[in-house]
């Protein structure tokens, strides 16, 4: 994503590019852990969807289907909130990449 120079910015920090948070891949913030969705354990309670601070739980029709790793920050809230005895979302290790590499 090309970043503007200070001269190209709108006065007063105003951002006129409505909805541009779509371009902000918060998934690049993950640092070593990511949630893994295990469909057979899922009871479709939607707690994870409700609690996820980044709207990263993917829903297909009326079913939770997985995680959107472009926006998932790996905070782990979904896994904590998942009420099943054997968690339907577990946090697993992932390789940490440099920020620049992840943002590509």
């Amino acid at each position: 994503m090309k970043k503007e120079s200070w001269k190209e910015l709108t006065l007063g920090t105003i951002n006129l590019d409505a909805g541009n948070s779509v371009k902000n891949l918060t998934g690049t913030w993950r640092s070593g852990k990511k949630p893994q969705f295990i469909e057979e354990r899922c009871i479709q309670c939607f707690f994870c969807w409700l609690y996820c601070p980044h709207f990263a739980i993917e829903v297909d029709g009326d079913k939770v289907r997985g995680i959107n790793y472009d926006y998932c920050t790996g905070c782990g809230i979904c896994s904590v909130e998942c009420p099943t005895k054997e968690k339907a979302i577990v946090m697993v290790k992932e390789e940490v990449k440099l920020f620049e590499e992840r943002a590509k």
Partner: protein
């Protein structure tokens, strides 16, 4: 028709506010600026102000309200002093960062502790890096004139930066003076219409105001913000000249008093400059070539203009009505000494702190300073860079 009226400093601001009639006035009373808010409240109660007048629960809320109202697209003002300005602190930076042309009248007062309600410049000097333009007034007339010009400067498209106008607490805020109040319609015409560039209330434009910036954008936004205050000098000059043409009282970055043939110069802002002028008249009659330079604009600091005016002097005394603990001199002094550094031949310069907490400064004190300046000019040596006036040792 303009008319001559007897008003104190606070009332002159109230009078100017009535004439300008901003869309929103949000203010919380604090000594010595309380009467500004009172005057405005009475005008509002009497139906002489059509804009909203809001009394929030604190100065922090007052400035927050100003920010909201200005973001919405309104012309906005407030008034405060001392701890009130201190309580606005974080919001001052936000107003400047969002480039909102809010105008604030500050009845300059000391900061606690110890508690003191009298005049000095500690409050606004503390806010000198907040991004606001700062204008200082010598008397009630200047407070009135500066306050009107402040709207033109703040709202100019090249500037769009908040402006504060200082008037010394009690010495100006509570002193009666005959001032020339201009015609309502002429004042309105002078300041003109205000049009916000990105009013939040414009439902057709989708936008975010005050977004979060990380390491990738904050620096660029801060640099972008500087443009406003860097463009201000030209606008300040134009507006000062136009004001002079229209109302007969021209303003610049500073006022020089018997400066042209002076060898010794005293630099002093605000009300002290009035006493200094009397002192200079007496000293001149004794044959001493001393003059006064009274800065009017402190932010953006008119470094070049002030240096050019001082460069021919043999010795300069900078008088500060605030201190900067731990710094190498008080605020006005450090600015001026730094500005002079680029000149190969520059005057000897010394700094005095005076008048903290409203301590009086009299003609005799300016005479003592002049004695020191004569000695410095004679010996070419500054024995004490930093000293105090009228302090019990």
């Amino acid at each position: 028709m303009s008319k001559f009226v007897t008003l104190n400093g606070n009332q002159t601001i109230g009078e100017a506010a009535r004439q300008i009639d901003p869309d929103v006035i949000a203010a919380y009373p604090i000594t010595p600026s309380t009467a500004i808010v009172e005057t405005i409240a009475k005008f509002k109660a009497d139906g002489l102000i059509s804009g909203e007048f809001v009394c929030p629960e604190s100065e922090h809320s007052a400035m927050s309200l100003c920010i909201g109202a200005a973001s919405a697209g309104g012309r906005v003002m407030t008034a405060t002093a001392s701890q009130g300005l201190a309580l606005m602190w974080e919001m001052l930076y936000i107003a400047a960062g969002l480039r909102l042309p809010i105008v604030a009248a500050i009845a300059n007062r000391s900061l606690s502790a110890p508690i003191n309600i009298h005049g000095d410049h500690s409050d606004t000097m503390g806010a000198r890096d907040s991004g606001w333009i700062q204008i200082y007034s010598e008397n009630c007339q200047e407070a009135y004139d500066n306050f009107i010009q402040a709207f033109r400067i703040a709202e100019h498209l090249d500037v769009r930066t908040p402006v504060l106008v200082g008037l010394d607490g009690f010495i100006i805020s509570h002193s009666m003076e005959v001032i020339q109040v201009e015609d309502d319609a002429e004042v309105k015409k002078f300041i003109g219409e205000y049009k916000s560039l990105y009013p939040l209330l414009d439902s057709k434009v989708k936008m975010t105001v005050g977004p979060i910036d990380f390491t990738d954008y904050y620096f660029e936004h801060k640099r972008n913000q500087l443009e406003g205050i860097e463009n201000a000098p030209q606008v300040i000059e134009e507006v000062g000249k136009e004001f002079g043409k229209k109302f007969g009282r021209e303003y610049g970055f500073f006022e020089g008093y018997r400066l042209d043939d002076a060898e010794l110069c005293i630099v002093a802002m605000s009300s002290a400059a009035g006493t200094c002028k009397d002192a200079i008249d007496e000293l001149r009659s004794e044959g001493k070539r001393v003059g006064l330079l009274k800065p009017r604009i402190f932010r953006p600091f008119p470094h070049q203009r002030i240096s050019e005016a001082l460069i021919k002097m043999k010795a300069v005394a900078v008088l500060d009505r605030s201190s900067s603990p731990g710094a190498f001199g008080a605020p006005l002094f450090t600015e001026i000494r730094s500005a002079l550094y680029d000149y190969e031949e520059r005057p000897k310069i010394t700094n005095y702190v005076y008048g903290l907490g409203g301590r009086d400064i009299k003609i005799e004190h300016f005479k003592e300073v002049t004695d020191d300046l004569e000695k410095i000019a004679e010996t070419g040596k500054v024995e004490k860079v930093y000293s105090y006036i009228n302090l019990r040792e």
